[in-house]
Each structure stands twice: as structure tokens, then as C-alpha cells.
């Protein structure tokens, strides 16, 4: 028996990844509720920020709606990473290694769960945000683009979670990355636009932080209209993170899966 074809392998592992994601409400529920809670609190507490000269919109809710998509990506890092780390710790990866499974199939399949989570998250955040009164100047095509961007970012960050799991083999180590990504999220244009960040060093770091431009891509669709430059930057950064993450994960997989 020569083993399944690559599409079969990817399909089977994708199926497993999706099933596992859907069967772990403890992974899905916080990923939905926590960002929405923060959205509610921040849009209520920082409403008056729209009075600052140069603030791009009258609706802080619309401005803040970009943030849950990035927070969702954080959960993707954790979920994808801890799932794979658990497979390593329990020996399930050894079981897969004894089959004709190709490494590329393993990584691609594992990200299928991240795709599903990304879709559910994006649809939820957007729906709740619009019901709460957020604006979406680009209409239905813009909504679809937002979902596509959110899924791209979720998958990209998921690949970093896979790398962390393969490198460390430990769920705890993956969890300890949470604060690192949290910092990336906070020191960005998360709460205020880049040009309204007054503290010099904060402005400098936020300007160099790719998260600021990912947020900018979402905001361009919500607030400004079709800005191809902002969208290209957003999708481009997501693609770059994905390439880096998958490359690193593939290298780590070769070490982890030392089969001859």
C-alpha cells in the first residue's frame, strides 16, 4: 500500500482539525466573547476620542471594530499551537509519522481548523458590530473582503502557533506566547490612529508594528472606502507572516519528525 494521495491526506487531516475545533467549545467561546466584550467596553469608554482633531470617524465603535479581528488571530495562535502540542505530548504525532503522511499535508491540514475558526469569528464580529451601529462604507463586497482578510490573518497567525508547538513540543510553552502577542496588539494603532499617538517612542514602535497596518486595512473597508494600497498592505503582511510561519514550521517539523 503506497499511502493516500496528497489531497486525501490534507483532506483527512483537515477534517480532523475542523472536528476538533468544533468539539472544543472552550476554544471557540472565549475567542468570540472576549473580543466582543472588549469592543463594547472600549467603544463605550473611548467614545469621546472621536472629538480629537483628526480622528477619522464620528463612530468610535466603527474604529474599534477592527480590533476583534486581530484579537481573534491571537486565539488562533493559541488554539492551533496547543492542539498540535497536545498531539506531540500524547504521541499522536508518532502515530501519524508511521503512516506515509507528508509533512506538507500535516501542516496544511492542521490549519483547516484555523480557517473554520476564522470564518466563525469574522462573521460573528462583523454581524454584532453592524447590529450595534458600526458603519461599513464598502457594503457587501467590503464585508466579504473583511472576512477574507480576517481568515487570511487567522491562518497566518495559526502557522506561528504551529511553529511554536513543533519547536517546543509543549502546550504550556505555546500558552506562554500569549503575552508576547498581546504586547504586539497593544503597542499599535489599536486604540487611536497612528497620527494621534502623542508619546514619541510609542508612536515609533506602533508605526513599525505590522499589526497597525493590518488594523488599517480593516479600517479602510469600514471607514474610508476602497483603498487598494491599504488592502494590499494588509493582505501582503498576512501572506508574509504565513510564509514565514509555514517555513519555520516546516523546518521545525523536520526536526520533530525525525523518521528515516
Amino acid at each position: 500500500m503506497s499511502g493516500g494521495a496528497l489531497p486525501t491526506q490534507v483532506g483527512q487531516l483537515a477534517r480532523r482539525s475542523v472536528l476538533r475545533t468544533l468539539r472544543q467549545p472552550a476554544q471557540i467561546v472565549p475567542a468570540l466573547i472576549f473580543p466582543l466584550f472588549l469592543l463594547a467596553v472600549n467603544s463605550g469608554g473611548l467614545k469621546d476620542a472621536t472629538n480629537l482633531p483628526g480622528f477619522p470617524t464620528d463612530s468610535y465603535l466603527t474604529f474599534a471594530l477592527a480590533v476583534p479581528f486581530m484579537q481573534g488571530a491571537l486565539f488562533s495562535v493559541m488554539n492551533a499551537g496547543t492542539d498540535l502540542a497536545r498531539d506531540i505530548e500524547t504521541g499522536f504525532l508518532n502515530r501519524l509519522a508511521l503512516t506515509p503522511l507528508r509533512g506538507a499535508a500535516l501542516l496544511s491540514g492542521l490549519l483547516a481548523g484555523a480557517v473554520v475558526l476564522g470564518l466563525v469569528q469574522a462573521a460573528t464580529y462583523l454581524t454584532v458590530g453592524l447590529i450595534a451601529g458600526a458603519e461599513l462604507v464598502t457594503g457587501v463586497p467590503g464585508a466579504l473582503t473583511i472576512v477574507a482578510l480576517a481568515v487570511s490573518i487567522t491562518v497566518a497567525f495559526g502557522s506561528i502557533g504551529l511553529f511554536a508547538a513543533l519547536r517546543t513540543g509543549s502546550g504550556e510553552a505555546v500558552q506562554s506566547l500569549f503575552p508576547v502577542f498581546f504586547v504586539f496588539l497593544f503597542i499599535s494603532s489599536m486604540a487611536l490612529p497612528l497620527d494621534l499617538l502623542q508619546t514619541d517612542w510609542f508612536h515609533a514602535v506602533a508605526s513599525a508594528n505590522p499589526v497597525s497596518y493590518l488594523l488599517g486595512a480593516f479600517r479602510s473597508l469600514l471607514i474610508e472606502g476602497w483603498d487598494l494600497g491599504a488592502l494590499a498592505l494588509g493582505f501582503g503582511i498576512a501572506a508574509t507572516i504565513l510564509v514565514i510561519g509555514m517555513t519555520a514550521a516546516s523546518a521545525a517539523l523536520k526536526t520533530r519528525l525525525v523518521r528515516t
Binding site: M1, G4, R20, D87, L96, L98, T99, P100, T260
Partner: protein
């Protein structure tokens, strides 16, 4: 595939595995397992059993030496080896979120079982291991025995010629253990599967294995059929445990004239191989009495695999055999001098 490879078992020469800054976990082992044989690999924790299995199943490259499994070189022909073997490793390695049936579906697909045959093959194997009714339940709800049986079924999906079982019954109750033994024996006798079984349970090796290799500190210290190995020891041993632990040496000196010393026992006594057989027992009692040594326990052992291990290494297998010793020996309490 050539006929030679169809018939090939396992051939190992000088296999070594060294870890960075650590001891040699496997220190140059040679062994041969004939096709269709059940080979028991027996040794205490940390002896090198699992490391050997990981190398033979291509999950760990050896540091030195060679091995051919099913006719394929484990280093140069890894994928071919994996195609010919099944393995149930030390951890059951199951996904608690998937059901038994979903595990089978995944495994059959990954091994390239044609789609039309996957359902039937899965159902057949689940039935064989007694998991048909539990097939749609998530593994998180399975007992330890059920997990081990599912593990075995998964190892068989692609009809491997050689099956590696790494401590398959550790932690199982007697019933589950016996059921697993029956299935392994059937696989070998009816399906002609070659089985490489590692265990730290003497009775498992005794019951299942046609031949046994005993490993300690990474080296094979004895090899043969259980009967041959026991016959090598041949004579019964007598073990005397003094009431006062400080008398151990005195006991050893008193027993010295009766045969080859076997070293201190794990109960703080001394034992010797009785050169003259069981008939010397009365003389042993008189000798101990003459020395005025108060004896807590005096036991006569028929040779067991633990005795083989003891003779070869000077130690008992861990947890080896309070039970086995009680089954095989006559126990006498000798009180006072």
C-alpha cells in the same frame, strides 16, 4: 516485492543509540526475529526496550549499527519499512476528541486503503478487538483496555507483516491483558504476523513469546526460548532472608558450600543455586541452624525468567515477581536457632 522480502523478519547488527551528554540507551545489540515469530523483548524500566523499538520503527535514527525490518534497511529505506510494519507504541497516542470509528477512518485513509474498502476494513478490525459497540463514542470515554485495543486495531489497518508492540498491557487489568494476549497469539498463528513485543512482565513474555531477549543497560544479556533460558539456570535456588538484616553476610557464608552464589536478593537475603538440587534443602536448614542465625523466610525457587535475569545481571527485574515467586516457590518459615 521479492519473495525474500516477503519472508523477511527482523535482523539487527550492532545497533547503538547514544543521546547527547547521556548514556548509551542501546549499546550494540544483535538479534534476529524469524517471520511469523513472536519475539519477547524483556527488561526493566530504562533498559533500552522502547529506544530499540523507536529505531526499528524508523522514528529514531540509530547512532551506529544496522537493522533490516521486513527486508528493508531502517535508515535508507524508511518509508518501505513503515509500509510493512504496524506499531502500538508505549503511549496509546489517541485523540480524545475523535471516536474510535473516526480514528479508523483517518488511519485507513492515510495508509492509502481504497475508499471503497475503508468502511469494511474498519468495521472488521473494530469487531476483532471488541469495539464495535463503542466505535462511535469519543475516545475520551474509553477505558484503558479499550484504548489499547483501539491502538492495536489502528496498527493493523494496512495488514502489516510485522507488528511492534511496546509494553502493550502495562496498566491493564487481568481480563483486558488476557484478551490482548489472545489476539496477539492469533495474529501470529493464523495471520502469520511477526510480532516484536517489549514487556517488563515476566508472565507476558513466558505466555506469548516463542523466543525472549533480555535487555539490561542497553545490551542483550540473554536470548533463547523461555524453556532454554530457564534450563540454563537449571538448578533451583534457595533464598534465605534473615530476621536481622545485619546477618545477611552470615547467611551468605552459611549457604556458600551449597552452590554458586546468586547475590543479595531484593528482600535483603542471600541466595544460591543448589548444586545438588532440592534434596539439599534439609542440609541448608541444618547449616543455618548451626550458625545460630534467625531466619525470617526460606524459599525454594524453581527457575523463572526473573532468575535468569538475576543470574545474568545480579539484580531482579523491577516489580518482577513477588507474585511469580509466590507462584513458583514453597515458602517455609524458620523461627529462631
Amino acid at each position: 516485492m521479492s519473495d525474500d522480502r516477503e519472508r523477511a523478519g527482523i535482523e539487527v547488527e550492532g545497533l547503538v543509540r547514544e543521546f547527547k551528554n547521556g548514556p548509551r540507551a542501546v549499546d550494540g545489540i544483535d538479534l534476529r526475529v524469524a517471520p511469523g515469530e513472536i519475539y519477547g523483548f524483556l527488561g526493566p524500566n530504562g533498559a533500552g526496550k522502547s529506544t530499540t523499538v523507536l529505531m526499528l520503527t524508523t522514528l529514531l535514527p540509530p547512532t551506529a549499527g544496522t537493522a533490516r525490518v521486513a527486508g528493508f534497511d531502517i535508515v535508507r529505506e524508511g518509508p518501505s519499512v513503515r509500509g510493512a510494519i504496524g506499531a502500538a507504541l508505549q503511549e496509546a497516542a489517541l485523540d480524545p476528541l475523535l471516536s474510535g470509528a473516526e480514528h479508523m477512518r483517518l488511519q485507513t485513509a492515510l495508509h492509502g486503503v481504497p475508499k471503497a474498502e475503508r468502511g469494511e476494513r474498519s468495521a472488521e478490525l473494530l469487531s476483532r478487538v471488541g469495539l464495535s459497540e463503542a466505535a462511535d463514542r469519543r475516545v475520551a470515554g474509553y477505558s484503558g483496555g479499550m484504548k489499547r485495543r483501539l491502538d492495536l486495531a489502528l496498527a493493523l489497518v494496512h495488514r502489516p507483516r510485522i507488528l511492534f508492540l511496546d509494553e502493550p498491557t502495562t496498566g491493564l487489568d487481568i481480563q483486558s491483558r488476557t484478551a490482548l494476549w489472545d489476539e496477539v497469539a492469533r495474529l501470529a498463528s493464523e495471520d502469520g504476523v511477526t510480532v516484536f513485543l517489549t514487556t517488563q512482565y515476566l508472565e507476558e513474555a513466558d505466555a506469548l513469546a516463542g523466543r525472549v531477549g533480555i535487555i539490561d543497560h542497553g545490551r542483550i544479556v540473554a536470548e533463547g526460548t523461555p524453556a532454554e533460558l530457564k534450563a540454563e539456570i537449571g538448578r533451583p535456588t534457595v533464598e534465605a532472608v534473615p530476621r536481622d538484616p545485619a546477618d545477611q553476610e552470615r547467611v551468605a557464608r552459611a549457604l556458600q558450600p551449597f552452590g554458586e552464589r546468586c547475590g543479595a536478593t531484593h528482600r535483603g537475603g542471600a541466595s544460591v543455586l543448589l548444586a545438588g538440587g532440592e534434596s539439599q534443602l534439609a542440609d541448608v536448614v541444618r547449616a543455618l541452624d548451626a550458625e545460630g542465625i534467625a531466619i525470617e523466610t526460606l524459599q525454594l525457587h524453581a527457575p523463572s525468567l526473573d532468575d535468569v535475569f538475576l543470574a545474568k545481571t545480579g539484580r531482579s527485574l523491577e516489580g518482577a515477581g513477588e507474585a511469580e515467586a509466590e507462584a513458583d516457590s514453597e515458602e517455609m518459615e524458620v523461627v529462631g536457632a
